[in-house]
């Protein structure tokens, strides 16, 4: 006997009651007999719900005392009753309306015996007053009465089934199969009701109900549409037209019997839309008509649907005949062209059509959902079932088991997939059981999640645990789903014992459908990567299926796979390489993305595959900054004996840094200004270290110390910290002889150093060259390569033209002797920032030069609209506009004295030189053009100012600029728009 303490407030809460105060009151209401039940109720999925329903049931039954006694005394009965009441509000309601059904749950055989399908069918037929032994059973009840009786009987059986499922831990496959049996019996009983309604005409036809989908697969849900197809033949002596009309009436009446809402509710909708021609086609066809359709018109997905066809009700002999005729068509369909791709395309369409806000909580259709498993299994069935009859079962889990047994699916994968599918289906069942509603969406409210978690046996922290398990299985499905699709591609080339082989031809077809332009070559790469028994090949075999998918998602899958092969061959035996890719998913994914997108980064990687190491973690993708790079370059150079080797070492470090920036730009959000800074830093570090090495070299060669200081002045985009990938470095060299030095010697040595710097950096080598361009120096190519500071002063004093002052706007002495750099700056500032601004003539001159430059510099045949630099509203337009503002106003506004375009624009806004909206328009166009130009170089691997014409390259540029696949013309439109707007602003401000 229970003590009061057992039902104390605190104890009830500990047992799992939410509203323990109310629970105590209700328990007291039921009386002492029931008190010991408290812990038992506490074990149900929702104790409060179970208790409430029990009280309601006790009030409804005639034999209250007996009910309470049985519940208290017979642990089996109480377990069954309470677990149902705690998990299903709908079944609780049913019990209240039909209280006598509680006796069903006292049946001890429920725990051990699966009710045979024929027994369920008999019960349902009897309920509608039909004789199950008749060849064509007919209901003897009135129509409305029969509908109600069928519903009550259906729920009675469902109640027993739910009790078995919840209290006796039925396997998912058993529960689903019993539900399918129940549905089959129900369809038969509904047909008996339909026969009574249609009357004598019904005798003219033989009608068979073929279950499709989950019912056909013997794996039904608690609540779902039941998919069927009807097939009929005339009974001998009747005309086909008469018979088919009657069959149509029977079929539509049958559907109504099941779906109509009556006093006793509804059962489920019967869906006949999988029939030939769907909604537009006739409801019932003869076998010949079915056959004609499938031979002529049917699409791949319709054959896929036929995998599940199974005669379940009506004339079973006719049903078997149908199966005999139609069955083989499924397997011939799998031989049709493009069949796998169609299946995959269909799957993508399904994914695309789920409302985005629901995807996350979808058990069925979302990524990693049930549909993924079903599709994967069906696909493999259709591929391999052609030749291997063993893998043809229509039930998902049985088919999976066979596929695993026969080696089409790895043992581990098969097991994980089985577990995930069982888990997700069970979860779906429990969600549906609660209100007997058709839903595949995880609830979001805490009470529901708590009930679900507890119904699956997670008594501790049910919500958290449920969430964890759910996501774990989802992830597993996602992971395995990919493997199952791509793995067969490997088996086409690798001889793996026990695995079925995909023929090379079909592997090629599949690769082509995935976007590989040259599937033969792709297959060769796969073969090269996976052949042999080495550990490397083994790891590659696990890695490749996923990599292949990632390549397929990138703009250029062929380049991706080819690059991967070359790098893998170069690094194959390096222990960390494959480990990195295998263990750090992100590194592998980044690598696939880079190889399939950027020829620039791929070239850098291939020159030195060790660079792959930087893909490993986020931190390593941070650009290092000038000091760090410069220090490393310097010490690498100092360890070398001669300038040539020293510069080679410097260039190797530069290459690694370029790779780092390019990869970071592709993989993590990275502003275009930041790319410019990073590239500028690397360039300056390179020049600094190279200048030092060259000086040491010249000193050694001449046997004397440098009699002069040297510096390098960055010009153009380099001076503006706006370098792009593959930009040349525009510079001027300046030197300043030490006091008392021999001017001749100083000039000659400085000249030698400058020459060496240029030559050593542009010499052909493994690493990319840095072209040092000195064309912007005074007198251009006619002028001396290096001038002294005095010579610059003299030149500018004598010759300075407005265009030279303009070029100096972007001059930044970034490299070499710090004092000299400072003095050079002091020298040019008054020139480029004239205190009095520009004269009217100067402004006219600037405009005139720009007009000429625009016309002359555009390469022949180039489309001006697609030229980032010289097109209307392009980089040059924006920069000239900003520079004009600078020359006019920087004399009086010191903040405007910057070499950076965007910074100057910002300052111009602050000083009201330009309206904020105009500045925004210019800066947006400038940023877009710069980003597009960088992306173009990344894609093409060489410097270019023109948007690529090639569709594939253009798509890749769009991908880098974050446009979704198939929207490259959106990018073009956006670019043209931003350029058009900028052009309007330039027209006003620059052209005046």
């Amino acid at each position: 006997m229970a003590t009061d303490s057992e039902t104390s407030w605190g104890n009830l809460a500990r047992l799992g009651f939410f509203d323990s105060e109310r629970a105590r009151r209700l328990l007291a209401e039921l009386g002492d007999v029931v008190r010991p039940l408290a812990p038992l109720i506490g074990r149900s999925a929702d104790p409060d719900l179970a208790l409430t329903a029990l009280v309601a049931l006790a009030d409804a039954v005639d034999d209250r005392a007996r009910l309470l006694r049985e519940v208290a005394d017979d642990e089996g009965t109480s377990m069954r009753l309470l677990s149902v009441l705690g998990a299903s509000q709908a079944l609780g309601d049913h019990l209240r309306r039909h209280p006598e059904h509680w006796h069903e749950l006292t049946d001890p055989t429920l725990g051990s015996t699966r009710p045979p399908a024929y027994a369920i069918r008999e019960g349902l037929l009897r309920a509608v007053g039909a004789d199950p032994r008749d060849e064509q059973p007919i209901s003897t009840l009135g129509y409305a009465e029969a509908l109600d009786a069928l519903r009550v009987e259906y729920r009675r059986v469902l109640l027993r089934l739910a009790a078995r499922d919840l209290a006796h831990h039925l396997g998912l496959d058993d529960a689903a199969a019993e539900l399918a049996d129940l549905a089959a019996g129900t369809l038969d009983a509904a047909l008996a009701v339909a026969r009574a309604k249609v009357g004598d005409a019904a005798l003219s036809c033989r009608l068979s109900v073929i279950a499709m989908g989950k019912c056909g697969g013997h794996e039904l849900n608690y609540v779902s549409d039941v998919d069927v197809i009807f097939v009929a033949e005339p009974v001998e002596g009747y005309a086909e037209a008469t018979a088919m009309r009657a069959a149509g009436q029977l079929a539509s009446c049958l559907m109504q019997v099941c779906s109509d809402h009556t006093r006793e509710g509804t059962i489920w909708p019967v869906d006949a839309n999988l029939r030939p021609e769907g909604k537009a086609g006739p409801l019932v066809r003869t076998i010949a008509s079915h056959c004609g359709y499938y031979e002529r018109w049917a699409k791949t997905w319709e054959f896929q649907a036929l995998l599940k066809a199974r005669p379940v009700a009506g004339d079973m002999e006719l049903g078997r005949e149908y199966a005999r005729v139609i069955g083989p068509l499924v397997w011939s369909a799998a031989e049709r062209d493009g069949f796998v791709e169609e299946v995959q395309a269909m799957r993508r369409r399904v994914l695309d059509h789920i409302p985005a806000d629901r995807v996350e909580r979808q058990l069925k259709l979302g990524s990693g959902g049930l549909r993924d498993v079903e599709f994967a299994v069906q696909l493999l069935q259709m591929v391999h079932g052609r030749t291997d009859e063993e893998v043809r079962p229509s039930t998902t889990l049985s088919a999976l088991a066979r596929l695993t047994e026969r080696g089409y699916v790895g043992r581990e994968d098969g097991r994980s997939l089985h577990e995930a599918y069982s888990f997700l289906r069970t979860l779906e069942h429990r969600i549906q059981l609660f209100q007997l509603r058709r839903t595949h969406v995880m609830p979001t409210d805490e009470p529901s999640l708590r009930r679900l978690g507890r119904s699956l046996g997670y008594t501790k922290d049910p919500i958290e645990e449920l969430d964890k398990q759910w996501h774990f299985h989802q992830r597993e499905v996602r992971r395995l789903h990919q493997k199952l699709f791509y793995r067969p591609l490997l088996s086409a080339v690798a001889r793996v014992s026990g695995e079925a082989r995909l023929s090379p031809e079909s592997a090629e077809e599949r690769l082509a459908a995935l976007g590989y332009q040259d599937p033969k070559a792709a297959l060769r790469h796969i073969e090269a990567l996976t052949k042999g028994v080495s550990r490397t090949a083994q790891i590659q075999r696990t890695l490749l299926p996923v990599m292949l998918e990632w390549f397929a998602d990138a703009p250029d899958p062929d380049a991706g796979l080819f690059g991967f092969r070359r790098i893998s061959e170069a690094l194959g035996s390096t222990p960390w390489y494959l480990r990195l890719l295998r263990d750090e998913g992100q590194a592998a994914q980044r690598m696939a993305q880079i190889l399939g997108t950027s020829r620039y980064a791929t070239d850098l990687l291939q020159r030195e595959p060790q660079g792959v190491a930087i893909l490993g973690d986020q931190e390593r993708l941070e650009p290092l900054g000038r000091d760090a790079v410069q220090t490393e370059m310097r010490s690498a150079a100092e360890r070398r004996d001669n300038a040539k080797d020293a510069v080679l070492a410097i260039r190797a470090i530069r290459r690694r840094e370029l790779l780092r920036i390019s990869v970071a730009d592709l993989c993590v959000p990275f502003g275009v200004a930041e790319v410019g800074y990073a590239l500028t830093d690397v360039t300056s570090a390179t020049l600094e270290a190279t200048l030092e090495a060259a000086i040491r070299g010249v000193e050694a060669a001449r046997g004397t110390e440098m009699p002069t200081r040297m510096a390098i002045v960055a010009m153009g985009r380099y001076g503006g910290y706006e370098l792009g990938y593959g930009s040349d470095a525009d510079v001027m060299f300046v030197h300043e002889p030490l006091p008392g030095a021999d001017a001749q010697l100083a000039a000659s040595m400085a000249q030698a150093v400058a020459n060496d710097v240029r030559q050593l950096l542009s010499e052909h080598s493994r690493d990319p060259a840095l072209e040092v361009d000195t064309a912007l120096r005074p007198e251009g190519r006619q002028g001396p390569l290096v001038r002294t500071l005095e010579s610059y002063a003299a030149y500018y004093g004598k010759w300075s033209a407005v265009w030279e002052a303009q070029a100096l706007l972007r001059a930044a002495p970034l490299v070499g002797d710090p004092g000299l750099r400072e003095r050079f700056k002091d020298l040019i500032d008054p020139l480029r920032f004239p205190a009095e601004g520009l004269s009217r003539d100067d402004v006219v001159e600037v405009r005139r030069i720009k007009a000429r430059v625009d016309a002359e510099r555009l390469p022949r045949g180039a489309d001006p609209a697609m030229n980032f630099k010289l097109g209307g509203g392009g980089l040059s337009d924006v920069e000239w506009t900003v520079q004009l503002l600078q020359m006019e106003h920087a004399g009086r506004i010191p903040e405007l004295r910057t070499t950076k375009t965007l910074e100057a624009l910002q300052v111009a806004v602050e000083h009201d030189l330009i309206a904020p909206a105009d500045a925004e328009g210019l800066s947006a166009a400038w940023r877009f053009a710069s980003r597009a130009r960088n992306a173009t170089v990344q894609v093409r691997g060489k410097a270019s100012d023109q948007l690529p014409r090639d569709a594939r390259e253009r798509a890749a540029v769009a991908a880098i600029l974050q446009y979704p696949p198939g929207q490259s013309d959106d990018m073009v439109n956006d670019y043209l728009r931003s350029a058009r707007r900028a052009r309007g602003i330039v027209d006003r401000i620059f052209w005046g």
């Binding site: 018109w297 169609e342 609209a865 929207q967 073009v972 439109n973 728009r977």
Partner: protein, 445 residues
């Protein structure tokens, strides 16, 4: 492949179709057609039919000529004028780039994009055009005055007139192509006809207008006469417009209707009208795209040349038709500027965009024009704040050049090409010496 594609493939087989014409429209609104055999159609559905875009007016730059035409199976129709025997069918196409992205040069995509933007806000755009055109005896030769087929006037019924024979035949053909005709009658000018199409969503309407123009010209040819949609073929007779009734639906309800409001016009409708009026000058270049279009607009009568709206006022640019009780679903407004020689995809796109802009910005609807706008004098019009629409193509181009709305709606490619082409048309026209000048000057100076 979806159900619709299946349907088309099946129909080809069953109807013994030997050729399928794939139709699309260039930027200026001319219909383009490429024929394929049924066997190629499956491929056309899945991959599209490649063609050289640079050969089509306004489609591609020479350097990126590869384009693909993707037939839209929902537009499948048999062509009725090919007589008995093996039949020919047509489908409209969407134009794609080689990477599968829809081409911004495709006028149909311009309209689709604009419709999508409205759909994102929950609206569907319905239109109902009244298309006017002239019938002439035989094909007018260069430099000759065209001779109309009759001398009748508005709503005239003439026994055995060629015009009514023509209309009957044309309507039969349109109906057999699934294009419902609402109304047809003789218009004001000699030989001038009007046929009204039933209201439909704007994309279908635009497709239908393209079909309509073809059908009308085919039927005319078969009867030995000539049909033209030229906006103003005669100095003295009325021009041919394409008054278009437009309405917005939210799901199944007419968003322009509000029971009890003035003229039963909802706030949405008022903002929409305000949008059209506000941007009227900017979009005129598209709705009235030819030098000749402006001769119609300044001609008075049924064609508006001032930005105005009015209830049942036929001189207003936007007319709100008389409300019929219990017909809330048919509440609509009539835009009277558009002419029948426009590119219907582009024209409907800019009209919708202007109206939607009015909705977004909640423009205030200006005062209603209650009088016949033509009967007012200039001062009166000024006092009432009635602004004039562009008087020439040149004015219209200048205004469109500064229009963000038009650029945004047409997309950069079409916008740039369209204006370039129109500027060229104007420049060429400007240099023409006309009969008017000679008649005026030669005799006297």
């Amino acid at each position: 492949m979806g159900k619709q594609e299946d349907f088309v493939l099946r129909a080809l087989e069953e109807r013994d179709v030997r050729f399928v014409r794939l139709w699309f429209t260039d930027v200026l609104g001319y219909l383009k057609s490429v024929s394929v055999a049924p066997a190629e159609l499956e491929n056309a559905f899945s991959e599209g039919i490649g063609f050289d875009g640079s050969a089509i007016e306004g489609f591609a730059r020479v350097t990126e000529a590869d384009m693909l035409a993707h037939p839209d199976p929902a537009t499948f129709q048999l062509l009725p004028w090919r007589g008995e025997g093996p039949s020919t069918a047509r489908m409209f196409c969407d134009i794609m780039m080689p990477d599968g992205s829809p081409s911004y040069a495709d006028p149909r995509f311009v309209l689709k994009r604009t419709l999508q933007k409205a759909a994102d806000k929950g609206f569907t755009f319905y239109t109902h055009p009244e298309i006017e055109f002239y019938l002439f005896q035989g094909r007018p030769g260069i430099g000759e005055d065209p001779i109309p087929v009759d001398r009748s006037g508005y709503f005239d019924h003439t026994a055995q007139s060629r015009g009514s024979d023509f209309r009957r035949e044309a309507i039969n053909m349109l109906e057999s192509m699934g294009i419902s005709v609402e109304f047809s009658h003789h218009e004001g000018g000699p030989g001038q006809q009007e046929i009204d199409l039933r209201y439909a969503d704007a994309l279908s309407t635009a497709d239908n207008i393209m079909t309509f123009r073809t059908v009308v010209r085919e039927v005319a040819l078969s009867q030995g006469i000539w049909a033209s949609f030229m906006p103003k073929p005669f100095t003295t007779h009325p021009g041919s417009g394409m008054h278009t009734h437009v309405s917005l639906f939210e799901g199944d309800t007419n968003a322009f209707f509000e029971a009890g409001a003035e003229y039963q016009l909802s706030k949405t409708a008022r903002h929409f009208i305000a949008g059209i009026l506000h941007h009227a000058s900017e979009i005129t270049c598209v709705t009235n795209q030819w030098v000749n279009s402006y001769k119609r607009l300044i001609g008075g009568g049924e064609a508006p040349s001032y930005k105005s709206w009015g209830h049942n006022n036929r001189s207003a640019m936007v007319r709100v038709p008389m409300y019929k009780p219990n017909k809330g679903q048919s509440t609509r407004i009539e835009l009277r500027t558009v002419d029948a020689a426009c590119n219907p995809y582009l024209a409907y796109a800019v009209v919708l965009a202007a109206g939607m802009k009015g909705l977004e910005e909640e423009y205030e609807l200006p005062r209603e024009a209650e009088d016949d706008v033509w009967s007012l004098n200039d001062r009166e019009r000024m006092a009432l704040g009635l602004e004039q629409l562009p008087k020439t193509l040149h004015d219209a181009i200048r205004i469109a050049e500064d229009s963000e709305l038009v650029a945004e709606t047409l997309g950069e490619h079409v916008y740039e090409f369209f204006l370039r082409n129109k500027r060229a048309e104007w420049d060429e026209y400007r240099g023409q010496v006309s009969a008017f000048e000679r008649d005026r000057m030669l005799p006297v100076i």
